[in-house]
């Protein structure tokens, strides 16, 4: 079985082709674009909500996209245990759709940040990280609204259930304010839902899969999903 990835295209998505390229051309998986106005997930095994600026980030990032016709299907798919990964704007959409808890507000610095960051892989026992070999991976971020916020109860729950998957860190894995690019609570860069089938992350693993870029740390995230599906 070659798992199939469905990459949703919203008006304003701009990492959809990066994701498609990495999955299909670099990793050799099946991949297909899914148009936001359609209601057909085309038998995808994994849904990718890609990065970008869906609906121009109007009102709140991800707010309008979360109401798209395809999202009704994606929400149902996720609630039934289907695997979803939301990257950057995709993470914002997952939060607005209520599939993950919390919100992403403006970076503390108010600047759009585009650079490589290190992520401490806090939980390797997930569908998305089971094949990650390193403890710290290097993945680019590119966002203006990546500052994760949730109330204390939600944060406590995330910690207690091991739902925090990635934290911004130093190259050695040190998690502290110094290595927090955007002001996120607990340096949160990526979380999963309680049942572990939905991941949201601000960094872009699809942008570090092609060996041309000299960094292929992102490959292991997609490999983990496929290994999980095949095992």
């Amino acid at each position: 079985m070659n798992p199939k990835f469905g990459v949703v295209v919203f008006p304003g998505s701009n990492c959809d082709h990066d994701a498609y390229h990495s999955l299909k051309k670099i990793l050799g998986y099946e991949a297909e674009f899914l148009w936001h106005k359609d209601k057909d997930l085309k038998n995808s095994d994994v849904i990718i909500l890609p990065g970008g600026f869906s609906y121009g980030d109007y009102l709140r990032t991800g707010a309008i996209a979360s109401l798209s016709p395809i999202m009704q299907e994606v929400i149902e798919f996720g609630q039934k245990g289907g695997i979803i990964i939301g990257i950057c704007n995709g993470f914002q959409i997952l939060l607005e759709a209520g599939l993950l808890p919390g919100v992403l507000i403006q970076n503390k610095s108010l600047k759009f940040i585009c650079k490589d960051v290190y992520l401490n892989v806090k939980n390797k026992n997930t569908l998305f990280t089971n094949s990650v070999t390193k403890d710290v991976i290097k993945v680019p971020i590119a966002h203006g609204d990546g500052n994760y916020f949730a109330d204390e109860n939600v944060i406590t729950e995330l910690v207690n259930n091991n739902q925090i998957v990635f934290q911004y860190s130093s190259a050695n894995g040190e998690v502290s304010d110094e290595f927090n690019p955007n002001g996120s609570i607990l340096n949160i860069a990526g979380i999963i839902n309680k049942s572990g089938n939905i991941l949201g992350m601000m960094p872009h693993p699809e942008r570090c899969c092609d060996p041309l870029f000299n960094n292929i740390d992102g490959q292991e995230i997609f490999r983990s999903i496929v290994n999980g599906l095949l095992s």
Partner: protein, 83 residues
């Protein structure tokens, strides 16, 4: 018909980087008495019903489902009858 005016505000405890930046601008202009600057949203629309209670409950639903994200924002609104 009612003219609806909604104001969406970030909850007091939640950092408002935009408000902070604007306040820095105020200081640069010499407005030293200004503090606690917060930026919110002002949204206007018409709701096409004569029934005040129905209008109110629809506006509440609209605010809850889309205009405000209750994780970080509160909203308030006014209804004004128009002919």
């Amino acid at each position: 018909m009612y003219q609806v005016t909604v104001i969406v505000k970030r909850r007091p405890k939640i950092l408002d980087p935009q408000g902070k930046a604007v306040e820095q601008g105020a200081k640069l202009l010499g407005f030293n008495n200004i503090s606690n600057t917060r930026i919110g949203k002002y949204i206007q629309f018409i709701i096409n019903t004569e029934d005040y209670d129905k209008a109110k409950s629809e506006v509440d639903e609209f605010c809850n489902k889309l205009l405000a994200n209750l994780v970080m924002e509160d909203y308030e609104y006014t209804l004004e009858k128009v002919k």
